[in-house]
Amino acid sequence: MENLIISNLTKGFFKKRALNNFSYSFKKGMVYGLIGPNGSGKTTLMKTIYGLVKPTHGTIFMNGEKISYKTRENIAFMPTEDIFMPDLTGNEILNFYSNNFSDFSLEKANRILEKMKLPLDEKINTYSTGMKMRLKVTLCLARDVELYMFDEPLNGIDVISKDLIKDTIISMTTENSTLIISSHALNEMELILEQVIFLNEGDIIRDINLEELRHTENKSLESLYWEVYNV
């Protein structure tokens, strides 16, 4: 079932177009990959869906409701930016989320944290980049929403953190939610993603089911990437 429908979405920043007449319907129970070089529109798309960026043209509907601050209650978004105040401890941040998002489940968070192995009593400014990412992913997945979006969840972190994050994402997918993940780590995300959207300068240049790609063209995601972007 389609739960997120985007029609003719255009977003211009001054003269540059970050999204160009983008239309797509996302389905429940699926894991989508957003792939493309920097500046291809991945982050703008996610921020527009979350309602942080206003579209220049076009519409986004989530379960029949136009995107606004209200639909945000049903979306969890993990941006690339640092979102934590450095003086807070991991536990304080957990409590902050738990108090601010009605759908945030401490029980779910604790279940994820059992594997994430984070020093929750310590201040965030003692955390490594990988630890911060693990916490960010946890906070996002501990919410109970229909749409989860992760902007570059594997970027610039250590191998163990990558593995923990991948495992957690796999264990938290459900039939009732949609996951959208942007990533440059093609090789690492290849077995988790089902449908991959290739973006270039705000346009969809390819939209492909990975199992079908392997079946009909005998290609891997990475080899298709080289082909699509012609590099």
């Binding site: 129970g29 894991v31 796999i170 392997r214």
Partner: protein
């Protein structure tokens, strides 16, 4: 499990399970891991595992008990069936390769017998 990234993942997992059954690592009647646990173990999308179980069910190799999980069928013939199917697949590829080399089946049989005698 190491996957070839240019071959459908569900097919590779199906082959692995069939192999496990024919080798006796997985026994008739044995319960398979849950979709989620198996997907975490193999680090693949859970929908891939659902598809594996569905396809294997279609081939009458496993069956699903509602609320209980997925099991290897108890039929003793299943082992033989899987072996036959795997042999068929091997031989099909073998014949294709021979054709490409322009070697007739008779020639191949002669060579096989020679090798066996060595």
């Amino acid at each position: 499990m190491d996957f070839k990234k240019n071959i459908p993942i569900y097919l590779q997992i199906m082959d692995k399970l069939k192999q496990d059954i024919s080798l006796g690592t997985l026994k008739p009647g044995e319960k398979l891991m849950s979709t989620r646990d198996f997907s975490i173990k193999l680090k693949v999308n859970p929908n891939t595992i659902s598809r594996v179980y569905k396809e294997l069910e279609g081939e009458n190799i496993v069956f699903t008990k509602r609320g209980m999980g997925t099991f290897v069928v108890e039929d003793e013939n299943i082992l033989q069936n899987i072996k036959n199917k795997m042999a068929d697949d091997l031989i099909t590829t073998f014949i294709k390769d021979l054709n490409q080399l322009n070697i007739s089946i008779d020639e191949a049989i002669t060579k096989l017998k020679e090798m066996e005698e060595d």
